[in-house]
Symmetry: D3
Subunit: 270 residues, 6 copies
């Protein structure tokens, strides 16, 4: 664990930020979430809170700098027009991610990790490759993809405002969770579940990742309470275990990067 | 003062957010700042902290809902390439503001106030008029424009990481300010100051607003310590007075809107 | 006064234009107006005529070259869909201004002044800062901002097709004005006038510039005769006084530039 | 000939413009030219002057309304970076034309003619078809395409600042032409002339229109005096004959439109 | 005739492709067509088949490399919404052409020919000039423009799915043509035919090229069977003659290029 | 197996295409590949050939219509600037996919499957969700994701021009494969392979999908022969087995769709 008074870019005065990139660690994490309704028991900021909470633990472990979380994210088409949710358009979100990494590189950071706690792989992938063309080393992670059939922890896969997300909230920001309002939710895909890889699920042959098709009715037509899955199964302990696993996985990658490319060395992306 | 447990959109569960818009207040404030170096004594998040701090006080007074502050902003050309600063491109920032207001309106909010604590009138104006064409009622405020020659409070006009901004920080987030590092800064415009309206200054005939021209050398070439003005003159008391004045001014506008257009009524913009 | 046969870029053969930029004056003025209805007594080209008229007088006084006025401009949202008016979209107008300055610089001009006689600050500001990022020195002026409470001349602030604009027309292009058709107009803002800085008005603390919000109903719904204000108060003398003041103010800025940056010297914008 | 005090949109007050579209003629002509160097003897505005001059004569003959000429145009790649010339980018010019026609239609005009006196078919064609998709009836004409081997009038085809253009200038705006400076120019294509249809030339099988390829070296590298062709052959009489022929040709098309679609009738484009 | 096992880029392994560009011929042809209904007797791929068929014959004769035909094209506005047809938007098609030529140049090709068998001059021209600005030598040809009043071969001009196109199909891909379903078609322009240059027609003075205006009703409203012209007049012999003429014309241009700019030499476009 | 003379959209006359969508099957497959070098032994069109070959077999089995394969695709950043390869920009490819599906829907198809045989998930995902917002039901598949640790067939995972791709070529288009030139290739990622899910590999917890980061040096700097993996292990039999498995997996999804949404029924995406 690295002792630091402030983990976040915006908390630091510029000279200290520049010193950190030059002398301590030139890896920067951009946590991204979303402003998205999460049922009657969770705050709308769940995804951003999760991204920031995970990022802080990873930063403490690895020395990475934290770039401000822009709160808003992009959304699969079926989230749009759902009250409570504020989606950015695909082009806006891609441009936002690219602008942030470009701008952050000016301060001396050479390696970037976009840590997402919300399904927005449609925009993170384009951003990563646009940045790659300009020579920026960037990884983009969705935390639930790091679990994959973690049956030691969860009963279900991860859906929405459910066992997984609520557990994480109970661990990271319990002050915003009201379990007395937690109710089971609904929602069923437009094609058989047999073909769809749920978030956090270990895929089987012949299955499609949950972002690769228009698999759902619009939420505002389908969801009664904004929940998919069963949040009543959530516990703080499950949240803690999940968080620890993800923090551990991401940190391993960061340690690998640090070993291969010490402070000041840019991976040869271009 | 209105009693509320949570002021921010992301802290609330969706049903409570929707109830607020429907029954209590359908005005939403979007505070915007910037990620911009503010010298050796102020954190990089100054502008975002100021916007959020002002917005919280206004929300408490008026009942307005607070939309998440996206941290990043657009910047005049001469801020670009300055370490510590992360500018969004003009097109990205305009699109971001438009997407956020569009998205927030889905939850039942009918009046929007973009409250800026950073010089980004170049993008807020376009956003406001694009939104107007779509029928959204939106105001955009830059807090320092609300002062205008507030000689009761400040010795200088407002520049950058100076008496004004540092005072506000000492009042709103003293934990991030280190006055022991505060030093006087430099910077002089490319044309005579006689023709330029400084932020917070009462204009005279024949003067241009500080955004209307390329009046400056690039910061990364000109500024030694990232400061323009004299932060050593800053005090918590000056900050409090400024904050109170701005909160008061903005609240008056909101009260006027509330009187003319009660909850549920959309001003006839289209 | 500088003796010149032709003031305008398009009137000159290229070799003479290039000689002027190289030997006489490398400041170029781009006058911009709009194609906008101006009531029953004024021609639709009022804003463009005003911009060109002012620019010619400034050019004579300072030696600046005049870049062709593209006639069309951008408009606040509430002007759209009004018969007689032809608004450019915001993105088109920004691109147009950027293209023109970029192109004009090829001929050896090093300083640019966008002189607007129509409310289009939403696009001029973005253009100025985009140009600044590319290293072009550009100022953008709205003439009525140069007056500010000129109570020696006008009874009212400046609105639309009113005392101010009609007076200027009577001085600069009386052949297109028909005072027999001049009638008083209407229009009232969506919020209290107390909070809005009218064009040409000296602002008070707590007031917003007239472009910073969606303050108006659409013109095509609200205006009966296309006039806001009272054109019957217009006189040629008032027009002459206003014109002289603006020409004087802008010329002073140009003289300052000429003194600091002689012909051939580019201000260090980049 | 139709008696009209003013031919141009911007010269008229809005009520008279609307009356004209409703009662007299709902065809509007948008003359477009360019800001392009035209050698030592012609003004840079040649193309715009020609477009406006032709348009005025056509308007007098047919009753069509004249939409303001935006002066600037798009250019073939090899015109770029030539001092004196100000090219709009392709996307800007397309957007400009589309915005103007869209906006002009609000005033009741139902048929549009883009009359070009400069080689910019690359942008006019896209504009026409984008407008067609929105239901606007629009024709785009390049005047020199209307001649085709007019050997009764000209010795050469039409090139640049040459016999043809200079003759037209001598007829339409002799005050800007200085024949004492007229010199023969150069320039030769990158492939054999046998394959290229010159402006105003009658094509043969196996030939390509002069816009269909990158047929030229950049002007700023190739042209010594900015002229292609021989302006010393120009006379006012040739100009008059050319002008009359073009005015006659275009007017015939307008008469055909007027007969088929009387005032108020929109051709069924959509 | 040049002996080659494979004519197409995609059929070759990369080392052989690069060798060809370096040693044999650095001219590459990009054939473009469209996915467009062609009546009951012709396949929807007519335009792409024609472009590819012509290109193959030209490649055999000249040694040019064939770049893959992207099948889809842009369309005049009146083709849109017609079942069977898949139009690309104008901006997509322009970007597609630019991307392809940019990408193909990386392999060592220095001269490009876009060979179109479908009316899409609205997008090819912009692409050519955008490419020209970047320094790429590019010609764009529409085969029917190469004929011009070929009365030795055809009775009619070229319209759509008619004598000309069907004849070409009977020669190049008879397996997809079903003459038993060939019927005469309809369609008449919105203005007099006297003013419109049909495809393959020799123009007269005062006529407009068939792409320069919104001359037609939408196909899906006007055409009963998707045919304009009379395909029953089609024969394999006419097709062969047309094909041979076009192949001959294009090859002459290629031979001219080869003579002026041997392998490895880039024409000085920039 | 369904008997059909022609499987492809472009081979059919329009009336037969429309009948098929209305009466037989309204599912359409858009096969997409790339123009990408595939070493000295494989043709550059490998990915497009694979996509088309798989699509034809699926179409025969399910009755789906085949939309023309546009040959070109988007590419991860490290493929750019590699001779032989022609990448479309990300924005162009997204727009292309959206335009094609939009256009194909006009003919009566209600369900779309984008079948990719090349790594371009960065653009297919955005296209799918943009289409979803417009109400189009679209799935996007990458064939190698359907295998996942198919150790019954392959020794290695799938890389590039290797055992997997070459085997598929030997089965589907042996005429273009030259095994005498097959050589083992190189290439190693910028971070440990332990964290990267190879194409066709079963992921483990803590691993990232091979598109989620800038994991590679640019190909043109790193690859000597354009191969990653070992094509000498390729056999026709392996190709046949892989092909059959993928065809089977995709067909199952199509059968599921056909059962849930018979011809004429649009899945409720909007």
């Amino acid at each position: 664990m690295i002792e630091r008074e402030h983990l976040w870019w915006h908390e630091l005065p510029a000279p200290e930020l520049l010193r950190w990139a030059k002398e301590e660690c030139d890896i920067a994490i951009l946590p991204i979430g979303a402003i998205e309704q999460h049922g009657p028991h969770c705050p709308i900021g769940v995804d951003a809170y999760n991204a920031m909470g995970l990022a802080e633990l990873i930063a403490k472990k690895t020395g990475a700098m934290l770039i401000p979380c822009p709160w808003y994210g992009s959304h699969p088409y079926h989230h749009w027009h759902m009250p409570g949710t504020i989606p950015l358009s695909y082009d806006t979100h891609i441009a936002l991610l690219v602008d942030i990494v470009r701008g952050a590189a000016v301060s001396g950071f050479n390696k970037f990790i976009i840590l997402s706690a919300h399904g927005q792989v449609s925009t993170t992938l384009v951003a990563v490759h646009k940045l790659g063309l300009e020579g920026f080393f960037t990884l983009s992670l969705h935390w639930y993809d790091f679990l994959r059939d973690d049956k030691e922890v969860l009963e279900d896969y991860m859906w929405h405002a459910d066992e997984a997300e609520t557990s994480m909230g109970l661990y990271l920001y319990p002050q915003y969770i009201d379990m007395s309002k937690a109710v089971k939710g609904g929602g069923s895909p437009l094609i058989s579940r047999d073909f769809i890889i749920a978030p956090g699920m270990m895929p089987r042959p012949g299955m499609m990742y949950h972002f690769e098709g228009t698999f759902a009715r619009p939420e505002y037509k389908e969801l009664e309470n904004g929940v998919i899955g069963d949040p009543t199964k959530a516990t703080r302990e499950k949240g803690e275990k999940m968080v620890n696993r993800v923090v551990d996985y991401v940190s391993r990658i960061i340690f690998d990067i640090q070993e291969r490319y010490p402070v000041g060395v840019k991976p040869p992306v271009k």
